[in-house]
């Protein structure tokens, strides 16, 4: 009942991710993990979707049938299935398929970068807080508690309000709100590892604090961080798209899923595919990262699955 208890005090979950983060203590051993993961059909499905989307994103310049910003005003609002435009065209006659592919590039990049930034700072702060304890721990954790006293959407909006709307600012905003999430996970794991024999042995051998933190503790908290990060990429993509949808993130004519959705809304009556397709893309990515993340967690800690 321990994880639930933590949730109960409202301290663990920054954003309603209620069931995904339990604390893992597995050490290394990736082969059996992958084997277990392979048996989890949902996780494989998730991984498959991710591979396809990342592949399209990376290969966008090659696979995209048109320049995503190429305007054709005499062929506007064509429905999917129109000759030459598999998924139709938008309000300016731009090819929707091409924009979805290029939009995936933006969305996936923003999601991954935001997670990397949040992870970097979160892991670092968590390591310091957990390892050194004392004043470090108190200061870092109090600041994090205050950050978590803000609902995450509001915090992101507040940060954007200060720095001004835009894709980069939106990405920074959502990565800042992700920091506490990683800091907490890492700190929790470090606290339990700190007293273990192999760490104590390093002290006896005279290893420096930094060496112990980065060479010995970090690899051991890595698996929980990976699970958390996998689940988080989906969220970051959704959050970034949400900010763009509100007009606070990517700006036109950038092909970005949130912007496409928000622009398409005007044409909901005459061309519903303009709002349906980008939303579907966001949904699939979020779902895929959740499936994979859940699968990874179960594979890393088979005992949890009962």
């Amino acid at each position: 009942m321990e994880p639930e208890r933590e949730q109960a005090t409202g301290k663990v979950l920054p954003r309603g991710r209620a069931w995904s983060e339990r604390e893992e203590k597995t050490e290394g051993m990736w082969c059996p993990v992958l084997r277990r993961l392979w048996k989890d059909k949902f996780a494989v499905l998730g991984a498959g979707i991710i591979v396809v989307i990342i592949g399209l994103a990376v290969l966008a310049p090659v696979v995209s049938p048109y320049d995503p910003n190429q305007v054709d005003l005499l062929n506007r609002l064509k429905p999917p299935g129109t000759e030459g435009h598999l998924l139709g065209t938008d309000q300016l006659g731009r090819d929707v398929l091409s924009r979805l592919i290029w939009g995936g590039r933006v969305s996936v990049a923003v999601g991954v970068f935001a997670v990397l930034i949040a992870m970097f700072f979160g892991v670092f702060l968590g390591l310091i807080a957990g390892y050194f304890g004392g004043a470090f721990d108190i200061v870092i954790m109090r600041v994090i508690d205050v950050l978590m006293a803000f609902p995450y959407v509001l915090l992101a909006i507040a940060i954007i309000a200060a720095f001004g709307p835009g894709l980069v600012n939106a990405m920074i905003a959502i990565s800042i709100i992700g920091i506490p999430y990683y800091a907490r996970i890492v700190r929790g794991s470090v606290l339990s590892l700190r007293e273990k024999e192999f760490i104590q042995a390093q002290h006896a051998l005279g290893s420096s604090n930094w060496r112990i933190m980065f060479r010995h503790l970090l690899p051991n908290v890595f698996s929980s961080v990976i699970v958390a990060a996998t689940l988080d990429v989906g969220w970051m993509i959704m959050a970034a798209a949400g900010m763009s949808f509100l007009g606070l993130g990517a700006q036109p004519p950038t092909a970005e899923w949130g912007v496409m959705l928000s622009n398409g809304r005007q044409f909901i009556r005459v061309a519903p595919h303009l709002s349906l397709l980008p939303g579907l893309a966001i949904f699939l990515v979020v779902l895929a990262f959740n499936l994979l993340g859940d699968g990874l967690r179960d594979a890393l800690d088979p005992h949890l699955k009962e």
Partner: protein
């Protein structure tokens, strides 16, 4: 689900007071947004002008459906030979809605309130149009109760047309004295409709004025309601909750025209939508670059494609509905090859980078983001990399209307809707170098001494034939200099319940319901 609706309707009968049954003599108008003020002297936006017009008169009025001038609160007038003194003979027996008699003092009060900083009621509002309308007025003299004389500092040909604008409305002095700054929430005029109630965010209600000097209107009540979303406004018209709406989304227009019980009325507008260059800065201080951009943009595709025919292609800076229009002036055709050639001649064979400022919306701006995205795409085809920066309308205006040395603008878009039907109201105010921001609206910082001379001369000449010649010449010079890329003239389009009879669209965009009837 139908059942749910029935059930809820039943519940309504139990808990809520029954919704008002719709009155046959009421017209409910769906506006784009909430009016800002109902004080005609303070109006700067369409929603306010539309909601306020019916309550006020001016000395001279525009005719129904045109900018011809007809007697309003003045039955006749004379202009002195030197063009400096205007004498108005006022209509007798007219009363304001609050019972105050209309007389020469009220006229003097209405004008001086706006232009005299020492007037005791000058601080009851911000009079954005005062300088534009009355800047040339030297003094207002009451000759007797029903005669008023306005003396100008210099001859000013469009003065009579100005006297028909909102800012020239005659307001009840008693009401201004009574309400002070709150007059904008308690408007009192002499118009065909009387103010009843304004619930912010919900509606402005007006009822017919039984004592109106031109006869009580047949429409008994007019209600103005803000409905922000275009699609929602249209849906409410279809559902019968609104009788009259503006801003039909271009892509829905065909469908709306076919709807039963609804009719669409359109008319070419006194409007122009244009791209503005900062002509004082590189690269747009070179006319060849400006012409190149003009050639690079397929304006017709924008009008036919994005606007779906809700505007007509602009050939000129002046809309054809305004007199003095020069039909021989033609817009630059779409010719990317020529554009590239001009760019190369100007020293930009590989194009350049530039920022394009775009408002998210705004009165008269049509579909700014879509139109600018298309413009951006056309520019990229000739090597000009335009970066779009979007701003909210209010912020946008603040950024655009600054001194030339402070201006950060390179390229931006703007639209203008005529106020009084005089070409001076387009050409002088938008393109004379005497009108550089922040004093006027020449945001291109365009300066051509010959154009300046022509426009100034046309201002002080009273002969319409001579003025027409001057304006025609100015248009030729302006189009050759290309300080703008004129794109289109928006067509005014309204959709209404087909029982509404006799409504005429007005070039200034206001709605007048006093001569309208409703078929039972």
């Amino acid at each position: 689900m139908r059942k749910l609706v029935v059930l809820l309707t039943f519940l309504t009968l139990l808990i809520a007071p029954a919704a008002l049954a719709k009155d046959d003599n009421t017209i409910i108008v769906g506006l784009q947004a909430e009016p800002v003020t109902l004080d005609p002297h303070q109006i700067t936006d369409f929603n306010s002008s539309r909601a306020a017009k019916g309550m006020f008169n001016s000395l001279v009025e525009f005719a129904q459906g045109s900018t011809d001038l007809v007697p309003g609160l003045a039955t006749s007038w004379e202009v002195s030979d030197d063009g400096l003194t205007y004498t108005f003979h006022l209509r007798k027996g007219v009363k304001f809605h609050d019972g105050t008699p209309f007389n020469a003092e009220a006229v003097k009060f209405s004008i001086e309130r706006q232009i005299d900083p020492n007037h005791p009621y000058h601080d009851t509002g911000e009079f954005a149009y005062a300088d534009f309308t009355f800047g040339m007025v030297k003094e207002v003299n009451v000759i007797d109760d029903y005669t008023v004389e306005i003396v100008l500092k210099e001859p000013f040909a469009p003065f009579l047309a100005n006297m028909a604008m909102h800012s020239a409305s005659i307001v009840s002095p008693t009401a201004v004295k009574k309400y002070g700054a709150d007059f904008s929430k308690h408007p009192v005029g002499t118009g065909p409709f009387k103010f009843v109630k304004w619930t912010p965010g919900v509606e402005v209600i007006q009822e017919s004025n039984p004592d109106y000097w031109d006869g009580e209107p047949e429409v008994k009540r007019v209600i103005y309601r803000p409905v922000l979303e275009d699609q929602a406004r249209l849906a409410e018209l279809e559902a019968g909750k609104l009788d009259f709406i503006v801003n039909i989304p271009p892509d829905d227009l065909d469908r709306v025209k076919k709807l039963k019980g609804i009719k669409v009325q359109e008319q070419p507008g006194m409007h122009v939508w244009y791209v503005v260059f900062n002509t004082q800065k590189e690269p747009f201080n070179d006319p060849r670059v400006r012409q190149a951009v003009n050639y690079a943009i397929d304006k017709k595709a924008i009008v036919d494609g994005i606007l779906q025919g809700t505007g007509v292609l602009a050939e000129n800076v002046l809309p054809p509905v305004v007199w003095g229009y020069n039909p021989n002036v033609k817009n630059y055709p779409y010719d990317p090859v020529k554009a590239k050639q001009l760019l190369a001649e100007a020293g930009y064979p590989n194009g350049f980078k530039v920022t394009l400022w775009v408002p998210e919306g705004g009165s008269g701006m049509q579909q700014p983001v879509a139109m600018c995205t298309a413009i951006q795409a056309y520019l990229s085809m000739v090597g000009i990399q335009a970066e779009i920066q979007q701003f909210e309308w209010g912020t946008y205006l603040d950024k655009v209307f600054v001194d030339d040395y402070e201006s950060m603008a390179e390229m931006h878009v703007m639209s203008w809707i005529g106020d009084n039907g005089d070409p001076d109201n387009f050409l002088y105010i938008l393109l004379s170098s005497e009108q550089w921001p922040p004093y006027g609206f020449n945001e291109a910082f365009y300066k051509n001494p010959e154009v300046d001379r022509l426009l100034r001369q046309a201002r002080v000449t009273s002969d319409v034939v001579k003025r027409t010649e001057l304006y025609k010449k100015a248009q030729e010079l302006i189009m050759a200099d290309a300080p703008w890329v004129p794109i289109d003239h928006e067509t005014q389009i309204v959709a209404m319940d087909e029982r509404i009879q006799g409504f005429k669209l007005h070039p200034t965009g206001v709605f007048r319901f006093e001569k309208v009837t409703i078929k039972k």
